[in-house]
Amino acid sequence: MKASMKWLSLVMAIVLLGSLFSVAAAEDKTTLTFMHFHSVSDTAGTAKAFDQASTEFMAANPNIEITSTYVAHDDYETNLKVLVTGDELPDLFLCKGDMLASLANAGKIIPVTDLMDDAWKAEYLDTAFGDALVNGTAYGFPFQMQPNAVVYYNKDIFAECGVDTFPATYAELLTAVDKIKAKGYTPIALGNKDQWVAESCLFNTFAYRYVDGTWFDSLKNKTGAKFTDPAFVQALTDFQALATAGAFNADMNSINNNEQEAMYMNKKAAMFIEGAWALGNLLKDASDEIKAATEFAAIPAVEGQAGGVQNGVAGGAGWSYVIKAGLSDAQQKAALDFYKAITTGNYGTYALEAGFVPACKTSNVDQSKLDPLFAKYSALAATWTFLPIFDVQLSSPVASELYARTQELLIGATTPQEMAEACQSVLDAQ
């Protein structure tokens, strides 16, 4: 019986092999391949807005066929890197950070600044292209402008612990932390298992209370600023002090950012700090009680630091949509039309309705359709200055070092001075 089963499966294999050689349908359309991480089962946030805008575009353009491949966000960059090594890049895809720069410098993606007419360019917010710039030219289209650090706090819990207004300064924050701990709540829910949360969402903006955008540019271009500068080391020290004061949950390095949000939504934590994207999750999953009690704030200012930007926040577009080099004219035109549709125009409205700020300017928005929570948030975010995100603009090895060291800093496994020196030596080696 075993032998005949084996023959059967061999025959099956051969038949299946044979069916592979059937000819593909003829095409008179323009076809493009597209890779992204907008999950179709996400019913809020960037994925929803993308879905609405792209469906609209597809319906209006039956002669353009776009085959999309979805890859989960966590695996996206690795996938992309393997594709690059085999020269198997899709025609259109999302890209960010130093990968964008490498691809641009290797000529694998095309610059887009000259491909936009002035009217189109004007549709975007001023600093929208910041994360897509390589040597002054933009290589991709942004679709969101999100701050990386928004404090979501529960005003009811705060009131219960005797803190009436959100702390405006770092010193006040420490006092508030003590009061909240005394009542048995976790002051700040932190889920840093994936290593980027603490660095990207908390520390990056906190550091900007001590240094500013000019310092960062100087650091990036190696024209004088270093991680070991006193102001930055002070930022590290004060950040570590926050952890030593017990502001975070003890298992901060073994839960991830979804679980930190869950802690907040289950009323176990008084606040959590994450990017603006978390608002979408809140709108979808939080109970009405939590939503009613949620307020927004900026990371508190730090007194006595002249070099910092007290109302600054690390943020920007992050990811950009890029176009592979070597496409035909028809394909390129189709690509541009597609990107225009999913980053500007109606997309802007969809974005606001889904609970995040798009990279394009929006007007004539029906305020009543927006979630009140989102309205509260965007009013606050409008007062902030966007500053460069460390892990997007620095190269990957430096970003990895920053992530790992921040994790160690939080549990006291490294000192601020050590961390600064280690990061600097990795930066110097680039």
Partner: protein, 354 residues
């Protein structure tokens, strides 16, 4: 003038000759009993030697005729294997001599990657971690499996079949499931471990399982150990079952208890299988990746980083394909070294004491 006999009759002759002369009566019973209680010397194989020359030649000719078929049959899987494993391996070794970010051009840098590796603090940290975890796993998987397989020969143990089946069960689970389940077990607030400790009144034993860098290696080794004990248990039990039962019976007659039987008889007889099991375990654990990735991703910081994880991160997160290939080459070298050391340590003992 020999009568022509059918082949099967001739076979019967051969078998009879192999089985020895026929005895009758009490003499036979006495002799058999005495024989059974003496350790049987290694019997020479009668087999082919007993066949008349003509038959031997026929068999050899048959074997030679089959040679092309043998090559063909082995050739297909062998070529597949070369294509899938050996060629990429060689390419990978070649990559370790390059500097390449995956996108731009490749540049040949000779052994510079290896020099960097010698000075790389993270590399040696990952190596130490991997070696420690391998040690824990060898003790925890093969060691425990050995003890359990000895216990399986003990009459006092009940429900043997149940234990066998159930202990092997985790081997078939995916690392994602294992990682997720154990992450839950270790969870601070509502994990199984803490709940159990609290219920037993042992709150003081509660630690930050996945956050405390001083215990993290032990903590993440346990799920790995737990998963594969069953595999080595089955392997060792198979080896034990190959030991002839007569030896045990004689030992019992001589008055040996279970412990002595296990150490003096079973252990030397399964020594070779044990050695192979340890080599498999050690080299397999050197490659460990999925479990660590799911549970801690190398954290906190880099305290639970292992070589395979470090290799992956270097190659893909840092876009350093050359250095990443170097690390994987070193991983292979370490595995070979460990296998060789184990072979040295364990190779001769078995033969001396068998």
């Amino acid at each position: 003038m020999r009568a022509k006999r059918r082949i099967s009759a001739r076979l019967g002759d051969i078998l009879q000759r192999m089985l020895g002369p026929v005895e009758t009566g009490s003499r036979q019973r006495l002799r058999v009993k005495a024989q059974r209680c003496r350790p049987a010397p290694l019997q020479p194989r009668y087999g082919l030697m007993m066949l008349p020359q003509r038959m031997r030649l026929m068999l050899e000719r048959n074997a030679k005729r089959n040679l092309p078929l043998i090559y063909a049959l082995i050739g297909v899987p062998f070529l597949l294997y070369i294509f899938i494993v050996i060629v990429p391996l060689c390419i990978s070794i070649f990559y370790s001599l390059l500097k390449w970010d995956g996108i731009g051009p490749q540049s040949f840098v000779g052994f510079k990657n290896f020099a960097t590796m010698l000075k790389d603090r993270n590399f040696w940290l990952s190596t130490t971690n991997t070696l420690i975890i391998s040690l824990y796993c060898v003790l925890g998987q093969v060691g425990v499996a050995l003890v359990i397989s000895f216990l399986m020969t003990n009459r006092r143990l009940k429900l043997k079949e149940f234990h066998r089946t159930v202990i092997f069960f985790p081997v078939v689970l995916a690392p994602v499931v294992i990682g997720f389940v154990w992450k839950f077990v270790y969870d601070q607030n509502f994990g199984l471990l803490n709940t159990l400790l609290r219920a037993l009144g042992l709150q003081s034993w509660i630690r930050l399982w996945l956050d405390d860098t001083s215990i993290i290696l032990t903590t993440i080794s346990i799920p790995v150990m737990w998963q594969y004990i069953g595999l080595y248990l089955v392997i060792l039990m198979g080896a034990i079952s190959a030991v002839p039962t007569e030896i045990y019976e004689c030992a019992e007659i001589d008055g040996a208890n279970w412990y002595q039987r296990s150490m003096k008889i079973t252990l030397p007889m399964i020594w070779d299988t044990l050695k192979i099991a340890i080599i498999l375990c050690a080299s397999g654990t050197m490659k460990i990746y999925d479990h660590i990735y799911i549970m801690t991703n190398g954290g906190p910081g880099r305290s639970s980083s292992v070589l395979a994880l470090y290799c992956f991160k270097t190659t893909f997160d840092n876009s350093n394909f050359g250095y990443g290939a170097t690390i994987s080459v070193m991983l292979l070298v370490f595995s070979l070294l460990i296998s060789w050391v184990i072979q040295l340590l364990m190779g001769s003992y078995g033969r001396k004491n068998a």
